[in-house]
Subunit: 146 residues, 2 copies
DNA sequence: CCGTCGATTGAGACATCATTCAATTGTCTT
DNA sequence: AAGACAATTGAATGATGTCTCAATCGACGG
């Protein structure tokens, strides 16, 4: 049975095209399906991991600090940056590590973390994309995708 | 009173520098504080909104689709892309809109959304930053579906 | 070795979130 | 004007996530 959504899409295309044959609907469904699976679903999973890892004040602050520092920082130093328990920092670093945003190295009884290239790239773009006062006037800037 | 964390930092610097005066600790605390507040906390709030908006499968898929489409899409078309209720899509688009990632336009009784420049920038970098495993061809990614 | 300290782990409490259902708004059609 | 339909909104609920506390692991020094 044809789903309701498909029915609505048919009416929409009918509106847009002036007319609408069922093959138009099918073609459009194909195109939309292509948009959905434009890149592998495993990749989407990874991207969600990365975004979820960054979407938290504690973790974002830690990543920011490590990127800004440009060098590895000891956990005890990170402790001075965010205002949560030491345990929370450890959890946060674990999540970030799994997302490939930081890397840890043990040095004696201290442990040092540094931001990965991935983290640097994302934080950089985040700054550029957010900071420049003003969201996207729809026409002006042109991020020409090639 | 000196927090425990500060005590630990002192011991750490003692280890690293071989010696440690209390002014070294204070200086390091200053440096770390500078990292923390490297950019305004209001900005961090905005960034968290953006990241949180993207850190969800439904919303990320919608943004991806709109970016890939390169043009505005009707809600009824988006409905064919993600597998949630129409209400959920509306909620998702609302969240994305607040985060400045999509913009909506009403056209008759249909409503069309398109990705903002911010969304394009973020999705682009996300793609580039994630596909790290030996990516030589930077052009249109062509992930063979499994 | 034993005790201390840095750091991590697990469990539980608490908050936040994502989705669906039901009701509503606004537009078009007849 | 009334009904149909696209889309949004609000409330409720089940699921996730985040933090703290307590216990544990590993490395170091006496």
């Amino acid at each position: 049975m044809m789903s309701q959504s498909t029915e609505r899409l048919r009416r929409y295309l009918d509106d847009e095209l002036g007319e609408c044959r069922s093959e138009d609907v099918d073609r459009r469904l194909d195109e939309l399906g292509a948009l959905e699976t434009a890149l592998g679903s495993d990749r989407v999973g990874t991207e969600l991991d990365v975004l979820s890892a960054l979407a938290n004040e504690t973790r974002l602050t830690l990543v920011r600090a490590l990127v800004a520092a440009g060098e590895e920082l000891c956990v005890c130093e990170l402790d001075a940056i965010v205002d949560v328990s030491e345990s929370a920092i450890s959890h946060a670093l674990s999540t970030l590590s799994e997302a490939g945003l930081v890397e840890g190295r043990k040095d004696g009884r201290w442990k040092k973390y540094r931001a990965t290239n991935r983290a640097v790239a994302l934080v950089t773009v985040l700054d550029g994309s957010i900071g420049e006062s003003g969201v996207a006037h729809t026409g002006t800037a042109r991020p020409d995708d090639e």
